[in-house]
Amino acid sequence: VSPELAWNDLVTTAVLGTDRRSVEVAALPGSVGSAAGRLTGDPAETLLGAAALMLARDRAAAMPRRAVAAPDALPAEELRAMGPAAEAAFTDALQEPMHDLLLEALALAARAGLAAPRRCLPRLLERAVASKELRPLILAVLGVRGRWLAAQNPNWTTLVAEASAADHEGQAGHQGTGEPHAVPSAEDWAALSGPRRLATLRAIGSAPDAGLEALLERALDDPRADVRDRARTLLARLPESAYVGRMTARADLLVHVRRRLLRTEVSLADVDRLDQFAGRDGIDDQHANPPSRAARARIERWAVRALEITPLRHWDERLGGPEAALGATRAEDRDVLARGWLRAASTQENQSWLLALARIAPIRELAIVSGSVRRPWPGELTSVILTRVTSEVHRAAQAPDAQRKLVVVPLNALIDSLASNASATPGPASSRLTEALLGLANAATPASPAGNAAAGGGPLPSDLERALRTAHDHLSQRVRLNREIS
């Protein structure tokens, strides 16, 4: 009798009960049988004794498996390994439930050609499955080992496929840059399906050729809203296009320029309707409902939209540069016009307008736009925005609760943009900016005497303080990441 069968026989008897089934323990195989034969007591006790003997014998005699083949060695790692301090900073960023620090850690590691720490790999792969936003950056730091690991887990294998597809696409795109983009003819365009038309416009990229204008103009009448939106975005980047011309004309209608004897005065004009093509050009709220007090709000929306697309060169010519333009603007209209011009300055990447507007634009608007201004920022812009943030912190500290609440969120966003910019700015300028930001955040700590002085002597209101401390918290982690991972 094999030990296995003998054990199963004991189990069967135990399941049925020794009252119903008997077992001959002395007949158990080998030394267990002779030892069990000496057990005394009733059948139940004897069975338990025999089971204990078999169990100890089987477990003690178990032999390891033999002749298992060795696994194949991994190919050499292509990425460099992180040092211990970088590993610690990276691991902490991975602990954060929010994406932004991890995004930054991943971007830094990818830029420096570093592989993620080995023990982070399983969790990174989990995050890559869960988040499309993180995925491409995570794929960049997996290294040979991470991809090898992912290939063995059914939940992760698709990630590897995606990574190699992205590589492939990247190479194909690279090869294709020399050739001009194929523009479909008018007949071809009409024959394309909606999704194909959208894909065609998306493929054009951010710098369309002037030759595309006719096609884009035609796309403004497309039945699909997303195609129309994309066409407008592309047309806005063609300063000589008819579309930009129409917008410029509307801006001239909405922005009233009055030349007095000694000075020019710029104000919002009282316009109650726009031309018939305004809706086609994307100013859609012609018939927007709110009737009474909304007239002014509607004019403001029109103006911001028209200014955003009008080339800033136009105002340089009409008003003589940003400082002159802003100086001539009537106080009550300044925020609205600044908002439109600021958006234009950001998309047109016009540094002199950006700089002038950063000094006076409403803080909320600055916060929105600052996120999309290409980094690293010129040093002058950085220092202007830092000054704005500092003075807004001080002003907010004195403001009544309701007003302050409006400022805290944009202020936070602006500090965040500054912090990202600090990471993107190379060299000593970056560390100076970081220090300035830390100083500002530290000013929120009542414990520091400098902080009290900075806040004008009194303690900061708690919401502002919290916002600044959160910013500080993030920033110190960012500084640590930037210091350690490079």
Binding site: A14, R145, S476
Partner: protein
């Protein structure tokens, strides 16, 4: 006192997120009113948290013991960890008079320590006097024999109960409910056999462990019956085996008795640490390997949830120290005795191959038939993930199944296809990895 290392501080943190949170709190900008005292050593400071008033944080370094005015239920909280990290990182903390918010608590700590010292001194005097007091040997012997009699009578009931189960058969036991086992477990608690009680309490889970539970239950019943029978012949057993039986039944072993065993001095490398929360206590297991004798030991420590655990044994370090093993037929559990040097990086760790480990497990079962797991360090092993099971393979091609699937991917990420050293428990059905040494670096899993 010497400043602690950051690793030492982080080992105190109750979990990884607390450690990360503590690291964040270690920025000087959060702190004010920092102060320190050398004798008895203490630290304090005010930490600005999300609330309006800063938190008052005090650490008694002699304990260590912590106090913070924050509402966190973690212990130590992130503020205490942050304060310790700040100090460990070399922040300049001026010595001066104790801050008022720290003074009362530190004073009360001091009183408590003095009181317990006084109690210990009184107890020792009582022993010296030999006439009265709690250490009356005659009374102690009487209590011991009372306990033995109580356990014996309880275990006789257990033997009868076990035999009854086998007589009437296991069929239907999976529908009997927890109460069936709980009543017997309660009887074992009354009989002062807590080891047997907890073994009984783990049985209902076994009944729902899927196909083959009958066989697993028979195995557990057989082991319990063997234990009860062995206890009946306690005086006839060799002393080491008798000690094993007593400890499995749940007789207490005093610290003094363990420390009275001969010291095993070696350079002990800490290869793994694992915390496990039970209902009332958190258990921390540290696996140690002796550099010169290759012996593997487990040091256990316990604390209520949220309280700090033993933190002087840091994974990845080694320390020249005495270990005292709990008396047993196969001594594995140990207590840390005198330290002879400061901890240093662990470096290489000695281990054995899979064939030798299997042989060692057989020897352990022969000496202690209740052996379920044996702390072991395997060296030169590679991971082989196969569809059927993950294996650990040594250079000879011998292999053992890997247990603990939840940590397998982490282990594979760290080890890759390299030959590494792993530490853990050899069990009859496979190897449970708790730590790995790859590229000379120790990682606890």
């Amino acid at each position: 006192v010497d400043r602690w290392s950051a690793e030492q501080v982080l080992a105190l943190a109750p979990d990884a997120s607390s450690a990360a949170a503590g690291r964040k709190q270690a920025a000087p900008s959060f702190w004010s009113g920092l102060g320190a005292r050398d004798e008895p050593a203490a630290l304090w400071g005010l930490c600005q948290g999300s609330g309006k008033a800063p938190y008052q944080v005090v650490v008694d370094l002699t304990g260590p013991a912590f106090r913070c005015s924050c509402p966190s239920r973690k212990f130590p909280c992130k503020h205490a960890v942050g304060l310790l990290l700040l100090w460990a990182g070399g922040a300049v903390i001026g010595e001066g008079s104790v801050a008022p918010f720290a003074a009362d608590w530190l004073e009360s700590r001091l009183e408590r320590v003095e009181k317990s010292r006084a109690r210990e001194a009184a107890a020792e005097e009582g022993t010296a006097g030999e006439q009265r007091g709690p250490r009356d040997p005659a009374a102690a012997a009487r209590r011991a024999s009372d306990r033995r009699a109580g356990v014996s009578s309880g275990l006789r009931d257990l033997e009868n109960w076990l035999a009854d189960q086998v007589r009437s058969g296991f069929a239907g036991l999976d529908r009997a409910g927890y109460g069936h086992f709980d009543r017997m477990a309660a009887r074992m608690v009354d009989a002062q056999a807590p080891g047997v009680a907890s073994a009984l309490r783990s049985l209902p889970a076994l009944l729902h462990s899927g196909d083959g539970w009958h066989g697993r239950l028979l195995a557990e019943f057989a082991r319990l019956q063997l234990l009860a029978k062995a206890h009946g012949r306690l005086d006839a057993l060799p002393p080491a085996l008798a000690a094993t039986v007593r400890s499995r039944v749940g007789y207490p072993v005093s610290r003094e008795d363990v420390l009275a065993t001969p010291a095993q001095r070696d350079s002990w490398a800490v290869v793994a640490v694992r915390d496990r929360a039970n209902d009332r206590l958190v258990e921390r297991r540290c696996w140690l390997v002796g550099e010169r004798n290759g012996r593997v030991a487990v040091v256990l420590s316990f604390a209520p949830p949220g309280r700090p655990l033993e933190s002087s044994l840091v994974p990845g370090t080694r320390v020249e120290a005495d270990l005292h093993f709990y008396p047993a037929a196969v001594p594995t559990r140990a207590m840390l005795g005198e330290r002879h040097a400061e901890a240093e990086p662990a470096g290489a760790v000695p281990g054995i191959d899979i064939g030798a480990a299997a042989g060692r497990f057989g020897d352990a079962l022969a000496a202690d038939p209740w052996t379920t797991s044996l702390p072991t360090v395997l060296t030169g092993v590679q991971l082989v993930p196969t569809a059927e099971a993950w294996l650990l393979r040594d250079r000879s091609g011998a292999a053992v199944r890997l247990l603990g699937a939840d940590r397998n991917w982490l282990l594979l990420a760290i080890a890759g296809a390299d030959a590494v050293t792993v530490c853990g428990d050899w069990r009859h059905d496979g190897f449970d990895v708790s730590g790995v040494v790859a590229d000379g670096e120790v990682a606890a899993l």
